[in-house]
Amino acid sequence: MPDGAAPQNSDASDPTVLDVRDLKTVFRTRRGEVHAVNNVSFHLRAGELLGVVGESGSGKSVTMMSLIRLLPMPPAEIRAGVVDFDDMDLMQASEDQLRAIRGARIGMIFQDPMTSLNPVFNVGYQLMEPLRKHMGLGKEAARKRSVELLELVGIPDAARRLKDYPHQFSGGMRQRVMIAIALACDPKVLIADEPTTALDVTIQAQILELVKELRQKLGMAIVWITHDLGVIAGIADRVMVMYGGQVVEEAPVRELFANPKHPYTRMLLETVPSLSGERNDRLQVIQGQPPMLARDPDSCAFRDRCPHAFDRCAAENPLLRDVGPDGHRAACFWDGDTQGEEAVHA
């Protein structure tokens, strides 16, 4: 099947549907504080797919859970931030207002469908519940819509399968059901947290194809979290790279892969071997370990592992600044002089 044109469903003139500014989330644990999200700002435009990449612990999930306030508090504590959605600041919204938004105007899909689908209710009930609660549909209407939704995500024999329980579906089909539930109330924004990480590549390819198709049909804005650069390259319009609880780079997808500016992004792109390109005898390594996040950052979080680090990186935490066209921004003091780097690679 041909892949179709570039998935650019949006451009800079589209209205912003979600605007997050200076979000800061801290966990208080027995071993001290974990500064999981540090002054994260980003926005999402209508119809756009924003890819979020970063290694585990970089704060991808906590950022998204914070903005819909789905974190256990305590231990979590949202210390600062403004989240504009639907003419409202979600940080100030009441619990009732949030309940009406979650699962309805903001849909959610999580990594492991088995933990987020309820094993004791059949799939039909789990699909119809939000339809009746949020959309006020009657029983028959909700059933009809549920069948449509399952058909939309490509589950054969949908009407009969409503009575089945989650364990009767395969991993890929459960993820399809999760997507159907997330789409049930026509969300404006869909947050998908590593939705294909637990799946096999051939099943992942099916799901990615489905998402591309659904975007054409439904046109919602999507935040897609993953640590797989290949997945990002295939479906994102814009990419945000996270490291140590901060956004270190953001750019349109082609710009990011063609001209990565932050040293972390550059090394990340080089460390992943490819299936078709040239095969190197040695893999490029990012030495060292991810940061501990025990304090409010007062220096660059990537400093210990960065080949370009200099005095200033230890004294100040770099902020995002413009480094290229179309809103390409990076948080780094380095001026991009690659002479040293070239020498290392030669």
Binding site: D3, V201, L229, V272, L275, S276
Partner: protein
Amino acid sequence: MPDGSTAPRKLVEVRNLRMYFPIHTGLLRTHTGDVKAVDGVNFDIYEGETLGLVGESGCGKSTCGRAVLRLYDPTSASIKIDGVELAWANDDARKIDAAARRIARNATYSVMILGVVLIAVLAVQFEAMARFPIVLLQAAVLIALGLLTFFLTRNMLRKSRARAAGISEADFAPTENDLRRMRPTMQMVFQDPQASLNPRMTVAGIIGEPLSEHTQLSTTERNDRIYELMDAVGLNRDFANRYPHEFSGGQRQRIGIARALALNPKFIVCDEPIAALDVSIQAQVVNLLEDLQEKFGLTYLFISHDLSMVRHIADRVAVMYLGKVAELAPRDELFNDPLHPYTKALLSAVPEPDPVTHDTAERVILQGDVPSPSNPPQGCNFCTRCPAVMDICRSEDPEMKEVRPGRFVACHLHS
């Protein structure tokens, strides 16, 4: 990596490996079927090379790796490592072995039942015999007798029947004891570095455990060896007395690798050694594995579902689907020109980290899911999803054929 000039030596030879897990159902736990996790797999691994084993979740990669190291009792197989048979060199040997065991077991049961009856009769007849220490003594003698019966009967039967069938003693699977002696030459590195390390042991304890079990090193010799291993895998010696939970995932995997290296193995099965690690840490561990291979002349079976990593590390690659090998070929040929329809689909499903190729790539999207290994389809096991399926595929299981030198394919399109 084998090159043409000197004929490479086969270190591992696996023939007709089958590993069925029985399914028991109902109150009586009757045997109602089998999970055919591995169903007739053949491959060789040359000395010093890395054979990649790829395939989707549940296709039998781990089971295959564990059976090759005899961590499982395979249903059938010939597994030769360094010329030594670890299972049964031929099917006759396996059948004779199974029959000998069965008869020996029955003989043992008879002896035990007779013995228990005898002890009971004696106890009733003679009061002296009913005293507790005496009964205990009798029981001990009986158990020893039972064991003796089992091994004598089995070995005698095996020997005489083997002679009758013209099979040598070496064709049979080694005993548990012999296997234990062979263990040092073959080792395994596991996927989940957290779960495979004992949380209550220090790093030194974990790395040193196989040394205490299989060698007679003095304490100082043992400690020296532990430090040497820690150096080899890039762990700071100061960490020797720390516990696994104090380490990151990548460091834990280094501990697992050091432990696997402790007894100077020749052959290591790496079962998804990097799957639980972050991208930035994966490269560190893969480079380490390659360095160690070069330094110690190791041979790897590298199990992974990450095709681009396998392309990096493997010399030859075997692709598994539903318990069988679909295709086996040298790395570049497999990735540049896959022959089996499943290999093609699998390769085209991998998303490449390049937005430009994404927009032009021709993709094969497979429909449906992998069938259950307890009920595989008739004929070719890929026929339910194969885009090139033909009539013959639904009735006849394609045999594995060498279609070009070094390239093996099991598909009716290539026969």
